[in-house]
Symmetry: C2
Subunit: 163 residues, 2 copies
Amino acid sequence: MPTKYKGTEQEVLALETVIKLSRSLNSLNAHLLPPLQKEFGITESQLAVLESLHHLGPLTQGQLCQKMLKSGSNLTTVVDNLERDDLVRRERDPNDRRVQIVQLTPKGAELIGRAFPRHVDRVTRAFSALSADEQRELGRLCRKLGRALAEPGGAERRERVSV
Amino acid sequence: MPTKYKGTEQEVLALETVIKLSRSLNSLNAHLLPPLQKEFGITESQLAVLESLHHLGPLTQGQLCQKMLKSGSNLTTVVDNLERDDLVRRERDPNDRRVQIVQLTPKGAELIGRAFPRHVDRVTRAFSALSADEQRELGRLCRKLGRALAEPGGAERRERVSV
DNA sequence: GAAATATACTTCGACATCTAATAATACGAC
DNA sequence: GTCGTATTATTAGATGTCGAAGTATATTTC
């Protein structure tokens, strides 16, 4: 939705773009998450954990954090819930007793084996609204934007240079 | 991060794209939200409410829901917190006593008057990593994706046609 | 005008998410 | 070897988010 803000062209463009970006992910989530919940009883974060373990094997919570770009305390909560539902198991690393190694239970492996292909299918269909080239371009622009922000200094340095 | 999933080209492309989209918004939020919290003590949702009231004047909670695409129960929570901090006020519509009209308090008006320009500035700088054309293209692709999902039937219809 | 239905919001319970503070363990300097 | 520091995870407390159920008020229907 166009903001009523009266700023420079540059400002209005950036605001409109961030809104479109947010809303597209919003729509995507509204499309993808309810089926996960209804068909498999899992959330997006739980899917992310299960999928990582499915494709990469047992991982420490720290590694899961890194993969998912979420805070440690968040990972603890998500893994707690998965453990309660008997989808994953925690095990202390004998070599470093601070570390928790998380792995799929048979029940978790079975579930992700069913859920992931269905999820991929839904994602693929969702993106079929864009051509392959458009998807690549969207990906490129997103990555360019993300990288610029992740740089040390990031957008902040541009602030000082341009102002 | 490229998934290890071995699917069709189409599937891999869609998965990679959705990940890049998610991460870019993730980075953007990591860049924009902490300053809001630190400088002004408000969250993203609170900013959205305050900004809407700032630019559009008093609104009902239903109108705010629509503008923010959030659930009603969520709006109740956010407005509760804003009211507790004396940034907005609720008032029953005398013509329809079910309706709550939300409006800025002087304190809220003062705060959003300071916070919004700072926020716009940060958004604009963040997006300065992309040229104006790139921003427009990013916006176009996001909107195209979002619209396809919002359509009645949306990606579901394409499922039946293409399979 | 009373009953059924619809609308606007709130409440409740669950999960995700963050930051800050804490606990347990490992490691490095001395 | 002990002490201080770093790392890994958990806990505590706050907010956002949702869906489902509940409450209050309007509107429609008969």
